[in-house]
Each structure stands twice: as structure tokens, then as C-alpha cells.
């Protein structure tokens, strides 16, 4: 029955905040699984036990205020609890003021029909200068270091999605949105576009390469020298 255990289907997580997202997912999975099984169990018991039988009549029951209060209160507590629990996680991932500093790489990612443009500011740390490096669909970052991304789009809305990072953010034309991640495992991961952006939406695909420390240093020096 492994296939019923949804969390097992999650792709491998390779970001520092990904585990937090997965934990919430697993928690909700168990809450909803229990609620669902309980509801189904009651339903099945009732329809078997109270099916039509000769000589037995239904009982005239109009309701029960106590029960009403119990399940209203119980559900309220559960959902508020869930909201409270997810608050810190959300802040951590999406609030620019809480992003960790000292990024090991800063990149501007620009979605356009139907490619991802990655712009590295170069050694001077500023965009729009001569030492900028622009790559198509290739994003290179160091492992175990914070990466800051400035996300924007040229034409329509796209969405930057890296399943293994548990990160998704829409890219809006005319606006810069900041996000961050820290990858924990070297490798190459796909960056699909997750927002419908036209006939080429399916197949709009970039690649995130997470390098080890040495590899990344080598990659950097290959582009900009020392």
C-alpha cells in the first residue's frame, strides 16, 4: 500500500527549507487521512447497520446541540493549529525581510516565452555592466550556500519551479520578486515553468546545476578569471 502513502511520492528534497514543507505536508496528510478514514468508517457502519430491515423503523432524531458544538470546536482548533504551525515556515520562505544574508550567488532570472534567462551580475555585483554574464536556461549555484534570486518576466506570467527545492514563485512582467534557497546536494535539476504562458508552456524548461564548492569556484574562474 505504499502508493497510498502520498509523502512517499515526493521527489527527493535538496533544499534547507524543503524539509519544513514536507513535514507540514506529512502532518496534514495524517490529519486528513484520519479524518477521512473516520468519516468513511462511520458512514459504512451506518449504512450497514441502519439499512432498511423489515419491522425496524427509523428513529425521529432532529439533531444534537452538544454534538454540533463538539465538532465545530474540534475542527476550529485543528485548522487554527495548522495555520499557526505553518506561519513560521511561510515567513521563512517568502518574507524578504527574513531571508538569510551572505548569499554565495545572486542571479537574476527572467522568464520569457519560452526560456529562462539567467543573468549573473559578475564580480562587480551589479546588473547592467559589462561583466554581466547571461545564460539561457542554465542556472549554476554552489551547494550549501544561500542563493538570492531576482525573478522577473518579459512578456507574460511564468512560474519558476524546482520540485526538488520545494520552491515555486510566479514571475511577473514589470516586477522584480526576490526569493532564496540553499541547495544541499550537488546535481542537476529541472526548472519547469509552472504557469501557463502560451503554446510553448509545455517544454519551457531550464536546468539548475548545483556544484560542489570546488566545481563552483572552477566554473566562476572559467567565466571571469581571477
Amino acid at each position: 500500500m505504499k502508493w497510498l502513502n502520498f509523502p512517499a511520492w515526493l521527489p527527493e528534497n535538496v533544499s534547507t527549507f524543503g524539509q519544513g514543507v514536507d513535514n507540514l505536508f506529512i502532518l496534514i496528510y495524517w490529519i486528513t487521512a484520519i479524518v477521512f478514514l473516520a468519516v468513511m468508517a462511520v458512514l459504512v457502519v451506518f449504512i450497514i447497520k441502519y439499512r432498511f430491515q423489515e419491522g425496524r423503523n427509523a428513529e425521529y432524531i432532529e439533531g444534537s446541540t452538544t454534538l454540533e458544538i463538539v465538532w465545530t470546536a474540534a475542527t476550529t482548533v485543528i485548522v487554527f493549529g495548522l495555520a499557526m504551525l505553518s506561519l513560521p515556515q511561510w515567513n521563512k520562505i517568502k518574507f524578504p525581510s527574513q531571508f538569510p544574508g551572505n548569499p554565495g550567488a545572486v542571479v537574476q532570472v527572467n522568464g520569457k516565452q519560452f526560456n529562462w534567462d539567467m543573468t549573473y551580475p559578475g564580480p562587480d555585483g551589479e546588473w547592467g555592466t559589462d561583466d554581466d554574464l547571461q545564460l539561457e536556461n542554465q542556472l549554476h549555484v554552489p551547494v550549501n550556500e544561500v542563493v538570492h534570486i531576482r525573478l522577473t518576466a518579459d512578456d507574460v506570467i511564468h512560474s519558476f519551479f524546482v520540485p526538488q527545492l520545494r520552491l515555486k514563485q510566479d514571475a511577473l512582467p514589470g516586477r522584480f520578486i526576490n526569493m532564496w534557497f540553499e541547495a544541499t546536494k550537488p546535481g542537476t535539476y529541472e526548472i519547469p515553468c509552472a504557469e501557463l504562458c502560451g503554446f510553448g508552456h509545455s517544454g519551457m524548461l531550464g536546468y539548475l546545476t548545483v556544484h560542489t564548492e570546488e566545481d563552483y569556484a572552477a566554473w566562476i574562474s572559467e567565466r571571469w578569471g581571477e
Binding site: 511520492w9 486528513t32 427509523a58 432532529e62 515555486k168 512582467p173 501557463l196
Partner: protein, 620 residues
């Protein structure tokens, strides 16, 4: 013009065919028109789904029958009649419709976009709303509240015909140059608002115009419903004696009334952007692409509850009848629906967690969204409570109602995952959402519709539908439905994005653990074809039973509500004399009563709860 109004009250007048079946002013006929219209559109919307399901299971393989054969693709040899046809098509200089959209029978990515866009648009606006609100709303409201017709019969007829007009405009979009709208049913700007960005020209315009026409149609409907329910209840039919289906329709009419104008204004802005050179949604012109999303979801979130509330109301009618028991917690059911309707206005941002709106808003939208679980819990547990110590009859409508309850719970619970903003980061725009959509709208609304058709058919057409065929249809649909949509949760958890024409372009989906996405998609598609085929059983059952079904008595289910008090078939004007209502609609198995149901028109003397009401008492 004046004659029309008189006609609707004239019981002996022979009417012409046109007056009776086409431009009818009778709410029952208009309800039936909506029913047939909705069922036909269901076939269209479902057919589109089957078409793109083919592409998802076997990407870039020609569609059978229409497309070229495998031998032709591989060896260039003409093997079938279709191959020959395609040779001819390629040879002449005209570019035919088929060549643009499905070259060699393979679905073009742009056409794929139009397919799911139109699938969703048709299903939502031309199937579920017309069936739930149009068909059942029209048929049930006057009958269940005990009046002769809607407050404004002409408005009612116009509502149906403008609905038809909207459908015609929408279908015309398939055949204009540039193809049909392909920006999703959510029509996100600027993809939808700038012609050059999608290449779709009149298709998107017609999409907007059609939805505005639909909005006008709903507006006419809801004005009618609200007025009728407030003003024309039979004597003794107080607010808290209304059947829950009527409560649901009343609340839905208010939601429709207030929600549709907002999207109408937004659609008008899109049209201005497309045709008059404005730039409301274009950043380069000073506009804001998120504005569309806010306006759209401010409408579309209430819209999804418009899709489910009438279903809830109808299930609440059928469950007590076949459990032979009062509904559990009548008043809390009413207040729960009001709470859902109220909350639906302040949660729209949960569709926009990843859209780039201020993340601080995400927090409040997350909390309000999850709060909707509370009234939904009340409803669910009350339905269970209704079954407690009942005497359950497993008729076809009952089976559908039970399916409604259990499938709605699955869909609702998957909503909790998405309502949770951090989890939504991952599952947003994946098949997890698609699974959620279909569990609530198909598992919920459509099963309620199926049940409702079986339940009220005897009153509509004076004949029963075939129960055996009905059960076969139910079980195949129920199993195939779960086969189609349950695995979509799994795809979603694996990261499978929605709205992609070819999932096999992605390494991580091919390598999905423990099973690749490809065989799962094949399984889904096969189940979808079974599900589609099963709907023929429904279609056959409906049309056969209209003419040949077993003749129905006046109150075949032994139910309490007023529609069963009307003669079968229901004449013009519905009731001989307007009935007097004595108590609520769910007085089943009243202790001491001589039978296990007590129609609303019968005073129930000994019952502890049915204090006798003096005749002639008025509605409050």
C-alpha cells in the same frame, strides 16, 4: 405582450408548439430546457477532456480514427483511409481547420491549451451552473415553496435564451482564425489581454463576450429566484420551514448576483485592452497583471461554492427521504451554508499564494480559507448524523447522495493541503489541484446532479427512470471516476504540473518514484474513456424514460416537500389550490403518526415538534 402573462395562468388554453416547448414561460419547461441543454454540453465538455486525455497518455501520437496510422508515420506508407485523407489535405494549398489544430491527427500544443480551457469553461459555466441553478433552480423553487410560477416568467425565459446565446458564441470560438481562447479558464492576463502574446485573436474576444452574456443570464435568473423566494412562499412556509435545497438556491442566487458583475467588469477591461488600446493589465503601459487575478478570483472563488451549494442542498433533500429520518440539525445546516457563502468572499487570495502578491496577505488568506473547513465539517457530520438510527433505502438517488458526501469529503480535505500556504508552494499548479477540482465538482456537484435527475425525474416527466440501468451507471461512474481522479493526487505529489501538453518532456516525471508518470497517465486515460462511455447509459436512460419509463404516481418516494403534493404531471399553475404549510420539510418517522412521512401540507397532531399551526397563518 400582455397576453403572455395571462396565458401562464390559464389552465385550459391550448398552446402552440413554439409557445410550449421553445419560448415557454413555464418554469417547469424552462427547467427541463436547461436540463437537456446542460446534458448536451456535458457531452461536449467531456468529449474535449477525452481528446486531451489521449494526448496526455500517449503524447504526440495521432488520435485514432481522425489521425494517421503508425505505419504512415514511420514508413510513410498509406495504410488506412485516414492516411489517404491526410495526404490529400497536405497536398492542396488550403490550410484546413484540422491541419492547423491537429496536424496528422496529433494535438498541437496551442490546440491543447484551447482544449482544456474550453473543457473547463464549458463544464463550469455551461454544464454545472445551468444544471444545478438553471434546471433544478427553475424546476424546484416554485414547486417547493408552493407557488404557481416564478415572479417574472418572461425574465426567466430570457435567462435561458441568453444562456443559449452565450453557448453559441462560445462554441463559435472554435472556428475563428487564430483558434479558440487558450489562456485557461482563469484567463490570466497579460496572456489573455494581448493578442500578440498568445496569437489567439477572436477566440479570446468571444470567450470574454460569451461570459459577459452568461453573466447577464445569471443575473436575470438570480433576480427571479431571490424575488420569488422572498415574496411568493405559500402561506405557512416560514423561512425555517424551507427545504434546504431552497435555502441553498437562495444563497447561491445571492452569490451569483454579487459575484458575476465583478467579473463582467474585469472581462470588459480585458476587451478594452484587446480592442481599444488600453493597458489595464500590461505593466509596460502602467497596468498591473495581478489586478486581473484579484478581480477574477474575487468572482471565481464564490463561483466554486455556487457549484457546490445547490448540490449540498439537493443531497440534504434526498438523504432524509431515503433514510426516513429528519435531517440532523436543520438550523445548523442553514447557518453553515450562510457561513460558507460569507467566507467565500474573503478567501480569494488562496489561489494567489505564489502569484507575487504581498506574502503578508498570504497569512490572512490561509487562515480564512481553512476556516471554511468548519461550516463544511458541520455539514458533513450532520449528513452522517442523518444516517444514524435510520432505515436506509439504497435507491439510485440515495447511492448518488452517499457518493456525493464521501467524494466531497475527499475533495474538501485535499483543499486543506492547498489552503496551507507553505505546502501550496509545492503543490500549486500541479495535478494535486486538478484532483481537488474534480473531486469537488465531479465527485460533488455532478453526482448530486445525477442523483437529482433520478430523484425528480418522476415529477418532471411523469415517469420513472430505469433503476437497474441507473445502478449500473452509478457503479461504473463511481469506480471509473475514482480511477481517473484519485491517481492525479499522486501525480501532483510527484510534481506533475497541470496544463502541460507533454509530460514526457520532463526528466523528473519520467523518473518519478516509485512509478513513472507515464503509466499512471495511461491508466487515468483508460478510466476516463470508461467514465465517458458510462455517461451514454445515463443519456439512454434519460431519453428512453421520457417516452417509455414506468408511469410514476404522485409521490413515489413518499416525501414531504410540496413538489410531491402537486399532481403528476404537473399542470400549468402547479397546484389546484395554493397549499397551506404546517411544519418543516423533514418530518419523517414521527412517533405516533400512522405513516412514516408527514407531508408539509398535513398538520401533524400528536408529534412533539409539530405544534399545530392555525390555518391561514402567514409567512414570516
Amino acid at each position: 405582450m400582455n397576453d403572455h402573462a395571462h396565458d401562464s395562468h390559464d389552465h385550459h388554453h391550448e398552446e402552440s408548439f413554439v409557445r410550449k416547448y421553445i419560448f415557454s414561460l413555464d418554469h417547469k419547461m424552462i427547467g427541463k430546457q436547461f436540463l437537456i441543454f446542460g446534458l448536451i454540453m456535458f457531452m461536449v465538455g467531456g468529449g474535449l477532456a477525452l481528446l486531451f486525455r489521449w494526448q496526455l497518455a500517449w503524447p504526440d501520437r495521432p488520435v485514432p480514427i481522425i489521425g494517421v496510422s503508425q505505419t504512415y508515420l514511420e514508413e510513410g506508407e498509406v495504410a488506412t483511409a485516414a492516411d489517404r485523407k491526410w495526404e490529400e489535405r497536405f497536398d492542396d494549398d488550403k490550410e484546413t481547420w484540422l491541419e492547423t489544430n491537429m496536424p496528422s491527427g496529433v494535438i498541437d500544443p496551442a490546440f491543447y491549451n484551447s482544449l482544456f480551457t474550453m473543457h473547463a469553461t464549458i463544464m463550469v459555466f455551461f454544464v454545472v451552473v445551468p444544471l444545478l441553478v438553471g434546471a433544478f433552480g427553475n424546476f424546484l423553487i416554485p414547486l417547493m415553496i408552493g407557488t404557481r410560477d416564478m415572479a417574472f416568467p418572461v425574465l426567466n425565459m430570457l435567462s435561458f435564451w441568453s444562456n443559449m446565446l452565450g453557448a453559441v458564441i462560445m462554441m463559435a470560438g472554435f472556428f475563428v482564425p487564430g483558434g479558440h481562447a487558450g489562456a485557461g479558464w482563469t484567463g490570466y492576463a497579460p496572456l489573455s489581454s494581448v493578442v500578440d502574446l498568445s496569437g489567439v485573436n477572436w477566440g479570446q474576444n468571444l470567450w470574454c463576450i460569451s461570459l459577459i452574456v452568461m453573466g447577464i443570464s445569471s443575473l436575470m435568473g438570480s433576480i427571479n429566484y431571490i424575488t420569488t423566494i422572498i415574496n411568493m412562499r405559500a402561506p405557512g412556509m416560514t423561512w425555517f420551514r424551507l427545504p434546504l435545497a431552497i435555502w441553498a438556491l437562495f444563497i447561491v442566487a445571492i452569490l451569483l448576483l454579487l459575484a458575476f458583475p465583478v467579473v463582467a467588469s474585469a472581462l470588459a477591461l480585458i476587451l478594452f485592452d484587446r480592442m481599444a488600446g488600453t493597458s489595464f493589465f500590461l505593466a509596460t503601459g502602467g497596468g498591473d497583471p495581478l489586478l486581473w487575478q484579484h478581480l477574477f478570483w474575487f468572482f471565481a472563488h464564490p463561483e466554486v461554492y455556487i457549484l457546490i451549494l445547490p448540490g449540498m442542498g439537493m443531497a440534504s433533500e434526498m438523504l432524509p427521504v431515503f433514510a426516513r429520518k429528519p435531517i440532523f440539525g436543520y438550523k445548523s445546516m442553514v447557518f453553515a451554508m450562510i457561513a460558507i457563502a460569507f467566507l467565500s468572499w474573503i478567501v480569494w487570495g488562496h489561489h494567489m499564494f505564489q502569484s507575487g502578491m504581498n506574502p503578508a496577505l498570504g497569512l490572512s488568506f490561509m487562515t480564512t480559507t481553512m476556516l471554511i473547513a468548519v461550516p463544511s465539517a458541520i455539514k458533513t457530520f450532520n449528513w452522517l448524523g442523518t444516517l444514524h438510527r435510520a432505515s436506509i433505502r439504497f435507491t439510485v438517488p440515495m447511492l448518488h447522495s452517499l457518493a456525493f458526501v464521501s467524494m466531497f469529503v475527499i475533495g474538501g480535505l485535499s483543499g486543506i493541503f492547498m489552503a496551507n500556504a507553505p505546502v501550496d508552494i509545492y503543490i500549486h499548479d500541479t495535478y494535486f489541484i486538478v484532483a481537488h477540482i474534480h473531486y469537488v465538482v465531479f465527485g460533488g456537484s455532478v453526482f448530486a446532479i445525477f442523483g437529482g435527475i433520478f430523484y425528480w425525474f418522476p415529477k418532471m416527466y411523469g415517469r420513472h427512470m430505469n433503476a437497474t440501468l441507473g445502478k449500473v451507471h452509478f457503479w461504473i461512474s463511481f469506480l471509473a471516476f475514482n480511477g481517473v481522479f484519485f491517481p492525479m493526487h499522486i501525480l501532483g505529489v510527484g510534481g506533475h504540473m497541470r496544463r502541460i501538453a507533454n509530460p514526457m518532456q520532463y526528466e523528473f516525471l519520467q523518473q518519478m518514484q516509485p512509478i513513472s508518470a507515464q503509466p499512471i497517465n495511461v491508466f487515468i486515460t483508460i478510466c476516463a474513456f470508461i467514465l465517458g462511455a458510462a455517461q451514454f447509459l445515463l443519456l439512454i436512460n434519460v431519453f428512453w424514460s421520457i417516452f417509455r419509463g414506468k408511469v410514476a404516481e404522485q409521490n413515489p418516494w413518499q416525501a414531504n416537500t410540496l413538489e410531491w403534493h402537486a399532481p403528476t404531471p404537473v399542470p400549468h399553475g402547479n397546484f389546484g389550490a395554493i397549499p397551506q404549510v404546517h411544519h418543516g420539510p423533514y418530518e419523517y418517522s414521527v412517533p405516533g403518526a400512522d405513516k412514516d412521512w408527514t407531508p408539509q401540507t398535513e398538520p401533524n397532531g400528536e408529534s412533539p415538534h409539530g405544534e399545530p399551526v392555525p390555518a391561514g397563518a402567514t409567512a414570516d
